[in-house]
């Protein structure tokens, strides 16, 4: 208000742009100037060496693609947690190419999950709690595995001062022997922890729980939980607020 008062006799700001100012004027319909000429740079053709490099890259990529780790996200899989799997699959059905055909059997099969079996892994390079079960299906949490005794808390000093190399080789040898006589090696592993059977079952239950809950935070129950506990309080607060205003 004060701003307009100070500029007495002047037009309101922005008034010069109004349509009334220029009654006879026509909208400027002339074409806007074109973008100036632009020379598009073109890449040099590849040299021989670059061609071999690209071919090597492609060969390696091809190898990865054919390998066990290449995996795609099927839209049906990731969205299936809430909606029924069937419904999702129907939604994404491709009417033109989705019908099974004879040549489909030659089609490259796509993996949804990387395949981990089929090659040896060195267990100590992977985090124990999360991934050991995946790498080694025979592994059960809380049991001895490959000479490693699972403990909840390792003393921090221990790490690093051990002779890593010896361990390394030990595992290597064990792994080797395990490969040579698969059955025997696994049986040994299984026989050892027999008396801990009960613990395992407990552990399994616990694990499942964790999987379902997926941590302590659950976005879907966020509001529900709040309503149950604080619903009444909320109303009370509202009433209280009103009263305070009158004071």
């Amino acid at each position: 208000m004060s701003r307009f008062g100070a500029k007495k006799g002047r037009k309101l700001p922005g008034a010069e742009f109004s349509w009334d100012n220029d009654p006879s004027g026509e909208a400027d319909t002339a074409p806007t100037p074109l973008y100036p000429k632009y020379t598009v740079p073109t890449a040099r053709p590849l040299t021989e060496r670059e061609k071999t490099q690209v071919d090597f890259y492609r060969a390696l990529r091809e190898q990865f693609h054919d390998g066990p780790y290449y995996s795609v996200l099927d839209p049906g899989i990731s969205a299936s947690r809430r909606t029924a799997a069937g419904k999702a699959a129907r939604q994404h059905f491709d009417p033109f190419h989705g019908m099974p055909s004879y040549s489909g059997k030659y089609q490259k099969k796509k993996r949804g999950i990387p395949k981990l079996s089929g090659r040896p892994y060195i267990m100590k390079y992977f985090p124990r709690d999360d991934l050991w079960e995946v790498i080694q299906p025979t592994y059960k949490p809380g049991t001895a595995m490959d000479g490693f005794v699972a403990r909840m808390a390792r003393p921090p000093l221990k790490r690093g001062f051990e002779d890593d190399e010896e361990e390394d080789e030990d595992i290597g040898k064990r792994r080797k022997t395990g490969d040579d006589d698969d059955e025997g090696g696994e049986n040994d592993d299984l026989l050892e922890p027999d008396d801990q059977e009960e613990e395992e079952i407990i552990d399994d239950d616990f694990e499942d729980d964790e999987d379902e809950m997926g941590g302590d935070y659950n976005a879907e129950q966020y509001f529900d939980g709040g309503d149950d506990e604080y619903g009444d309080d909320g109303f009370g607060d509202g009433g209280g607020g009103g009263e305070e205003d009158t004071y």
Partner: protein, 647 residues
């Protein structure tokens, strides 16, 4: 390496190589940086088994770091941007290995890349590494010869290496396979291209540093210290411990007189072509060694070591840092080739190779230091004798330098040696008859030539009376960066801009008048060029007010050019351009999706001529050319990134 475009690029690379699942996990980690399993699951919206399997496979491929904290026992995951980025360099590395150590070594290398890390024992069992497949024979010779013709003329030794696996295959293919793998691995290890996997390599550097610090602080002798002393001791101990834990060096014991065992010795090849081949046949265990002739030079026990296979328990992976060193050397060599004779380049190659064996990584600091603050860092000195030993005996050294008597003065005037020899001043006949001392002198002359400005590719030093040659790596890396920037500026803004930038770089900050006087350009051109370059972010303006009012009329405006700043922005641009190229590639692939899926069908693949029509074959050809062009462009940009970031 943590910018938006770098993250985008790494995610795209992961997707291009490993598929969408990896990319989803990787991009989630790039966005949120450090996550525990449950949080990662929440953000990435993946199922439990998808995530577990994906993570395990990614750890195997070194694409993520993990760290289990001691306080709460929770494992945290972090993206490993560096190794994700190196996916783009795989083609370059494999080509380099093939060139250096032969086809089979490249196959071994790509298998290790494919597996992430692997035990030697497991590599032995792989069918892919059995060299019995016959396609090796034809292909390797062709590609080898082409490269020789193109780049490294007169490198007969290379041809030699290519021949040997072939010869062996033909003779007794099935029996040699384990003996071929181990020498190759040894050669790779001796060169430092592979290293042993250590526990600590799976954790990020920061985690390792904190860990090491913690364990140092718990030591009783450290606890007794106080104040500044304590800090210093902890610092020192941490670095030491880190080095010890991360160290995966495999070259120890595989070096002999500063040369890896697998390295070829041109000296021997050049001298005796036919006999060395004969010697090879009955000494089948050594793959690319040229040392059949040198047997007597080496003491027996050390020689016997070579036939011992590598321990099967060792886990190995690719050593990218070392490969960066090798690729950088190749870059320098190209620089030398550009304006000196092939013989000089050859001599330089020998010197660089010697240095490469003893250089672990490109620089000590993780970041490239700022322009003025960078100290000089010389490489290990290589004695002249060693270089002379390496240089091929048949190489015509005298042909490219002028006659001995007047060599020095002419040389000072900066004339190029090639012109001199064209002048027709004769030099004495074949080199074979020349004495040893003469040859040493000639090699020295070639190296002197390389030491001249503008590049100063080498520098001479006397160590306890012996002539040694070194390479000033930091200076040269900086030079490479500047050349790259100048190239970009010239391409974008023309040669006038290049002149202005050079003046600014040489003189520092200048006002417009002074700049005009020095650069001898009309005002109009100068202003135009400066304005466009300022818009592009290559030069900038600094205001220095002469009084407190900061009136424009009483202010001095100084133009300046800051290579560090420009480097960083160019680097970001390069990341962006690379990721755009990859996105374009994805888009193009999607356009041809149906067709490409058809070509990838298991029955079509391999016999395209039989199943595809004429039109489809041309389409496939076109697609391959297009893909190669885009990937080649990415590789070129990667070269630029390497210059700006890694060297």
């Amino acid at each position: 390496m943590t910018s938006q475009y770098a993250g985008e690029l790494c995610t795209l690379l992961v997707e291009d190589n490993f598929g969408e699942l990896f990319a989803r996990i990787f991009s989630t980690l790039v966005h949120y940086d450090r996550l525990s399993f449950s949080r990662l699951k929440f953000y990435s919206r993946l199922s439990n088994s998808q995530l577990r399997h994906g993570l395990a496979a990614m750890v195997q491929q070194h694409l993520i770091y993990h760290y289990t904290s001691y306080d709460d026992g929770i494992t945290y995951y972090e993206p490993n941007m560096q190794s994700a980025y190196y996916l783009v360099r795989s083609g370059k590395i494999l080509e380099f290995i093939e060139h250096r150590l032969g086809k089979y070594a490249a196959t071994v290398m790509s298998t290790i890349m494919f597996l992430g890390h692997a035990q030697v024992g497991y590599l032995e069992t792989l069918p892919a590494l059995k060299p019995a497949n016959s396609d090796m024979n034809g292909a390797s010779e062709d590609s080898g010869e082409k490269q020789i013709a193109e780049e490294y003329q007169g490198e007969e030794a290379h041809q030699e290496t290519e021949d040997q696996p072939n010869g062996l295959n033909g003779n007794h293919a099935p029996s040699v396979y384990p003996t071929l793998l181990h020498p190759t691995l040894k050669a790779l290890a001796g060169h430092g291209y592979i290293l042993r996997v250590r526990d600590a390599q799976f954790q990020s550097y920061t985690d390792n540093a904190l860990d090491a610090e913690r364990s140092i602080k718990l030591r009783p002798d450290i606890k007794a210290l106080k104040g500044k002393k304590l800090e210093d001791a902890v610092m020192e101990g941490t670095l030491e411990l880190l080095k010890e834990r991360l160290d995966g060096d495999l070259t120890r014991g595989l070096m002999f007189n500063g040369v890896p065992r697998g390295a070829k010795r041109r000296h021997a090849t050049g001298a005796a072509d036919a006999p060395s081949k004969k010697a090879q046949v009955d000494y089948a265990a050594v793959d690319e060694d040229e040392d059949g002739e040198d047997e007597n030079e080496w003491s027996d026990d050390e020689f016997g070591e070579d036939t011992i296979p590598m321990e099967t328990g060792i886990t190995i992976r690719i050593n990218y840092e070392k490969l960066d060193v090798a690729l950088r050397n190749r870059r320098f060599l190209e620089l030398a080739e550009r304006d000196s004779s092939p013989e000089t380049a050859e001599v330089y190659d020998c010197l660089l190779r010697r240095i490469e064996y003893q250089t672990g990584k490109c620089r000590d600091t993780t970041q490239i230091p700022r322009e003025g603050e960078e100290g000089e860092q010389y490489s290990v000195p290589i004695s002249l004798r060693a270089v002379v030993e390496d240089v091929d005996l048949l190489l015509d050294l005298a042909g490219s330098v002028g006659p001995m008597e007047i060599f020095q003065p002419v040389h000072r005037h900066g004339k190029r040696p090639l012109e001199e020899s064209v002048n027709g001043i004769g030099h004495d006949g074949p080199n074979g008859v020349q004495s040893d001392g003469n040859r040493t002198y000639e090699v020295d002359q070639h190296l002197c030539l390389l030491a001249q400005p503008p590049y100063n590719l080498t520098s001479k030093r006397m160590v306890s009376g012996l002539i040694t040659w070194t390479v000033e790596f930091r200076h040269l890396a900086r030079k490479l960066r500047h050349l790259e920037l100048e190239r970009i500026i010239e391409a974008r803004y023309g040669d006038v801009a290049l002149r202005v930038v050079r003046v600014l770089h040489d003189k520092g900050k200048l006002d417009e008048k002074r700049l005009q006087e020095i650069s001898l350009l009309p005002f109009k051109d100068l202003r135009q060029v400066l304005a466009t370059m300022q818009t592009g972010g290559f030069v900038d303006l600094q205001e220095v007010p002469r009084d407190a009012q900061r009136q424009p009329s009483r202010t001095i405006f100084l133009w300046f050019y800051d290579p560090d700043r420009v480097c960083n922005s160019v680097l970001e641009d390069a990341y962006k351009a690379m990721s755009r190229c990859l996105q374009r590639l994805l888009f193009e692939r999607n356009r041809l999706k149906e067709f490409l899926e058809k070509t990838e069908r298991s029955d079509v693949k391999g016999n395209e001529e039989r199943y595809l029509s004429e039109a489809e074959l041309t389409l496939l050809e076109q697609w391959r050319a297009k893909e190669a062009l885009l990937l080649g462009e990415v590789a070129r940009l990667d070269e630029m990134v390497a210059v700006m970031r890694d060297y």
